[in-house]
Symmetry: C3
Subunit: 186 residues, 3 copies
């Protein structure tokens, strides 16, 4: 009886951990696309790293600044979806690795307002009002903390043929750490 209870508790804990991590990752897009800078930053540990193609942020304050930046605020105002896919999560005690793709889908600004109205009225017209600006590989390293699971390092590379991007997908799917990718980007 004791053994069965303990087994249940342990199995349930693993499911809860995976659920919590998936939930955290699923909240990134909605939070970043609504400019919720504090909540986005809180997905990382205090000195968590967000290493993306053009920039590496090394703590919550820098993540917050990215959300507040003119560039990011522009995307929100123009219309933008950071659309992350379902993450595959591998847990090892108090740390974890997760992997997913994302699409950054952006509205074509005000340029198509007229056509957009027409497109709504006429279903025959499948006008491309949005474009896929980026498809990206995301590798997350996570840790259990007092505030639940947080990202300690997220490494993101655009899938434009640079070899680090598929390598991140492979390592993430296999539950391996990202390792600093060499030769990061042209």
């Amino acid at each position: 009886m004791e053994n069965r209870l303990a087994a249940l508790e342990s199995r349930l804990q693993e499911l809860e951990d995976k659920q919590a991590i998936a939930e955290m990752i699923a909240s990134y897009g909605p939070l970043v696309d609504s400019g919720a800078a504090d909540e986005v930053a809180a997905l990382w540990s205090e000195d968590g790293i967000y290493d993306v193609d053009e920039i590496t942020m090394t703590n919550r304050e820098q993540v917050r600044s990215m959300v507040h930046s003119t560039g990011h605020q522009h995307w929100i105002k123009a219309g933008c979806a950071h659309f992350l896919g379902p993450a595959k999560v591998t847990i090892t005690g108090d740390t974890a690795v997760a992997v997913c793709h994302s699409l950054m889908v952006v509205n074509q600004g005000g340029r198509f307002v007229g056509r957009r109205g027409e497109a709504s009225a006429d279903p025959e017209a499948a006008a491309p009002e949005f474009v896929v600006r980026r498809a990206t590989a995301h590798h997350f390293e996570l840790a259990r903390s007092d505030q639940g699971w947080v990202t300690t390092r997220r490494t993101s590379r655009v899938l434009d043929g640079r070899p680090e991007a598929p390598e991140l997908l492979r390592r993430g799917a296999m539950g391996q750490p990202a390792q600093a990718p060499e030769g990061t980007a042209p």
Copy 2:
């Protein structure tokens, strides 16, 4: 022992609730893209609301009619994916809030049949056979019912720069109700 059992039951119930809601949301796209009108309608409560940019449906019958409409049937025949992302779910007793993005991806009708054939034969040619017609923010309010979890109000706004759309993402990610967005868009 009793305490441990009760704790397990309660924790498991929460995971099952989140799973059931995620599953319901994951079934929307496949059901609506296959014209399964009754099954789509059954995702809402009998008087559930589906408030989308151009139209507000206020019961299952109206959701069913939307699926049967000429416009929607056109999209199915032309080729269409209502592609919803992983939802973030927040449960409070017998109600819940969920949030996700979606992409409405449509085939470019029969206009590109020739090019499509060529594209398949020649992997060099990355011809865009499909376009992203919309990227949308979805906010779900849900309730536990005799038929499981159902949507009582779904509010969807296209991410084209109108401020209600990111606001829905923010409120959804934080587990807050949608509230009737003011100035609901042109």
Copy 3:
């Protein structure tokens, strides 16, 4: 007490099964986009079937060959995301059915390098660097095995108006087997 334990074990098993299947499906994209041929093949049973529009693979070796093929390697080198959505899973004892959409998003090769650089520098320019080559319906039949859940038959049809594609979505969402779709594609 015994009854409560047994009920917990059974409910937990179902959640674990759904989690394992969702995880397996979520790993497909990262593995196939990184060319991890053995790991992709291992998602199927030894004689598992992958029936996709242009080709039907009937065992792991053929799945492995598809990953190694010139065509697939081209996509990896050019930049490609096989982006699968969250799956809806229906379990019946030791078999299961799952359904999801996917988008195959491809980089526009080297042709837009110049414009891409400009686009990064100028957030006003939402240049479409990636295109959606395909939106596809996926139906999975799965079985519990010594190596965990594996796919015994995956049937995938592009959502370009051919009737088998929405039919796969409908059957998958309702937990029904795919059945050999008649009149498979032009």
